[in-house]
């Protein structure tokens, strides 16, 4: 399988603290990969390094977008918006929506990097700008509908129920036309019913759009049912990787999560 994301020996230091240590990871085309680990293991730091929010201390990040042959591109040194333009979109652990914008507008923002009307075009409203604007609205509405947010389309994002806010974050990320979606704890704070819906939704995104998915998640039921492969992180190190089945029975993982058994 072709890897759309390849990370080699990624390290990140904060002062004297090594938050990530020589991490290798890859995500295949159309794969759902989960990144798990106890709190503070460096999962979100890893996301931030990939998406350009942090600059990695060491290591390489390569992407080879879907449908682009086997051309590899380096991702380091790009600004977050450039990374998004390359086709990696992320959501946030603590929801970061544009609170005082409507649901549709939130999604329309996602179209920003795929459109290009500038100031002059906005002022003079050329035909090209109007066409582009219609296109943005149409595409955004399709995505809103696809993610089951149609009933809220003109609501302020801040007035949405929690589960819908999470879905809106995914919708917004989808609007940037990514080949890889990075989901940071998408099920956090959801009830079991909402989690099941999310499970379905993520599968649907992969199936319909062919988007690969890398997710951080604490809900083990969701992770085990959803992912093709799992990476386990602890103290910035990769301690295990494999299929859900292998991970479930891996003693090192059990130790990291539950602590060591004390012999009597």
């Amino acid at each position: 399988m072709k890897a759309v994301l390849e990370v080699k020996g990624l390290s990140k230091d904060f002062g004297g603290l090594r938050a990530l240590n020589g991490l290798d990871l890859d995500v295949g085309e159309g794969e759902i990969v989960a990144l798990i680990g106890p709190n503070g293991a460096g999962k979100t730091t890893f996301f931030n390094c990939i998406t350009g929010m942090y600059e990695p201390t060491e290591g390489d990040i390569f992407i080879s977008p879907t449908g682009n042959g086997n051309v590899k591109e380096r991702l380091q040194g790009l600004k977050p918006n450039q990374v998004t333009a390359k086709g990696l979109a992320r959501t946030f652990q603590n929801i970061r929506l544009f609170q005082n914008m409507t649901v549709l507008e939130n999604v329309m923002i996602g179209r920003h990097c795929r459109t290009k009307a500038g100031i002059a075009r906005a002022i003079f409203r050329f035909a090209s700008q109007r066409r582009e604007e219609r296109e943005i609205v149409k595409k955004s509405f399709e995505i809103v509908e696809k993610l089951g947010l149609k009933q809220y389309v003109n609501e302020f994002a801040k007035n949405l129920p929690y589960g819908a806010q999470r879905r809106l974050e995914i919708a917004r990320a989808m609007a940037t036309q990514p080949f890889l979606l990075l989901l940071d704890e998408p099920a956090a704070g959801m009830n079991p019913h909402e989690t099941d819906e999310l499970d379905e939704l993520i599968r649907k995104i992969r199936k319909d759009e062919g988007i690969s998915i890398l997710l951080i998640e604490h809900d083990m039921k969701l992770v085990m049912s959803l992912s093709d492969r799992i990476y386990v992180l602890d103290y910035g190190q990769k301690i295990a990787q494999g299929t859900p089945k292998e991970i479930k029975n891996n003693p090192v993982v059990i130790k990291a999560y539950l602590g060591e058994e004390i012999d009597a």
Binding site: T51, P80, T84, R96, F98, N100, H112, C113, I123
Partner: protein
């Protein structure tokens, strides 16, 4: 409302006020006869006045709270203006009336009134410009007046040295404003909120101090006099007619400004500004270039200030640094906040209210700023969103059919 505890609260408030105002309202030292006068009657007035005012205050507050609880009622009230604006049958005659009124205004009112109106309209331009920076992009700019000064001095100096006319100076002033906007924008790209406010405040003062102290360049505090009013196809007009002429020019520029700002707001760039205001990190993660969007906002905001500066110089024919103090920045910021951040109608009405009110309150002589301040406080407590708060555009979809054109009804 429970009567007795409310009465007690008002009573305590009035006691507190009596105590606070005691030194200034009651004691007066008569320096001629060297005696202390005790004006006890004043104490009674303060007591009675503050008693009723505090009661009224809390009554209005509790009514406001009740309004929030009764959701439907509240929505009806807050959206009154926006509902009026939606009503096509009402809005077209109203707009026509307004247009006729603005056109004949200088002919039915005196030159003095027209002159006040020009000032108000200049502030409409300034408000709309600052609205881009503060209201849309959420960048608190306290040095906005610097760009206004740049525009005014651009016209003053270019005219003095090279004899440039108003119509040439207008685009030059706008361009210089934009240039200075970018100059300010670069160093503050990383800053937000309070820190940004401090730096922009400093920037505004730097410009003013340069103008005040660099005598060879800007003629220092004595300023530049005899700046020509705009000429009408080469004809020099009398003061009265020049005022009317400037009035029409300003009306024209204001209309253009309103259209342009409205269009920008409802475009890809405008949405990026609002996203930047809402959440900078998410905004970047969604593929918006933070630096470029901020610079855009600063440059465009400053462009209007530059233009307003040119118009101001042409109107007053005399400029000096005293016209461009921090106070002006504060007033413009008040216009944006009081009018309603991000709302064009709000900012226009905010500018008219804030500039015209002090003029027409002149009848109250020394109390006018007091009344003005009280109105500001009342507004912020009872309508924190401003006169006309920002209404997001509503998109409606007839059905889920994808070829459907989105219809707008707001």
């Amino acid at each position: 409302m429970n009567l007795f505890p409310e009465l007690r609260k008002s009573f305590i408030a009035s006691l507190w006020f009596m105590f606070l105002t005691f030194p200034i309202m009651v004691i007066r030292v008569n320096t001629i006869e060297n005696i202390v006068e005790w004006r006890w009657m004043n104490l009674v007035f303060v007591g009675i006045g503050s008693f009723f005012l505090s009661w009224l205050w809390r009554y209005l507050l509790s009514r406001k709270e009740m309004g929030v609880n009764k959701k439907t009622d509240d929505q009806d009230r807050t959206s009154l203006v926006s509902r009026l604006m939606k009503n096509k049958q009402l809005i077209i005659p109203a707009a026509a009336l307004l247009a006729i009124f603005t056109i004949i205004f200088p002919h039915i009112f005196s030159t003095y009134q027209t002159s006040i109106m020009i000032t108000a309209l200049i502030y409409v331009m300034l408000g709309l410009g600052l609205n881009i920076v503060v209201g849309l992009a959420g960048l608190l700019d306290l040095g906005y007046v610097a760009f206004y000064a740049v525009g005014a001095y651009a016209y003053g100096l270019l005219n003095y040295h090279f004899g440039l006319g108003f119509w040439t100076a207008l685009p030059v002033g706008a361009a210089l404003g934009a240039l200075f906007g970018i100059l300010l924008g670069f160093p503050v790209l990383r800053l937000r909120g309070d820190y940004l406010a401090i730096v922009t405040l400093g920037f505004g003062e730097i410009i003013r101090l340069i103008l005040e102290n660099w005598n060879e360049f800007s003629f220092g505090p004595s300023g530049i006099a005899n700046i020509p009013r705009p000429s009408f196809f080469g004809m020099d007009l009398s003061i009265q007619w020049a005022t009317v002429y400037i009035y029409y020019i300003v009306i024209g520029i204001c209309c253009i400004t309103i259209v342009i700002v409205g269009r920008l707001q409802d475009s890809r760039i405008g949405r990026a500004w609002i996203a930047l205001r809402e959440d900078e990190i998410a905004c970047q993660a969604m593929g918006i270039d933070k630096a470029r969007t901020k610079l855009n906002a600063f440059a465009l905001g400053a462009t209007w200030a530059g233009m307003a500066g040119v118009v101001f110089a042409a109107k007053t024919t005399f400029i000096n640094p005293a016209s461009f103090t921090i106070w002006e920045s504060i007033i413009i910021l008040c216009i944006v906040v009081l009018g309603g951040m991000g709302s064009v109608v709000g900012v226009v009405s905010g500018a008219l209210v804030l500039i015209l009110l002090p003029e027409y309150l002149r009848a109250f002589s020394e109390y006018r700023l007091l009344i003005f301040g009280a109105i500001l406080i009342f507004m912020m407590v009872f309508r924190p969103g401003g006169i006309v708060s920002d209404v997001r555009r509503v998109y409606r979809f007839e059905s889920s059919a994808m070829d459907d054109k989105p219809q707008e009804y707001s």
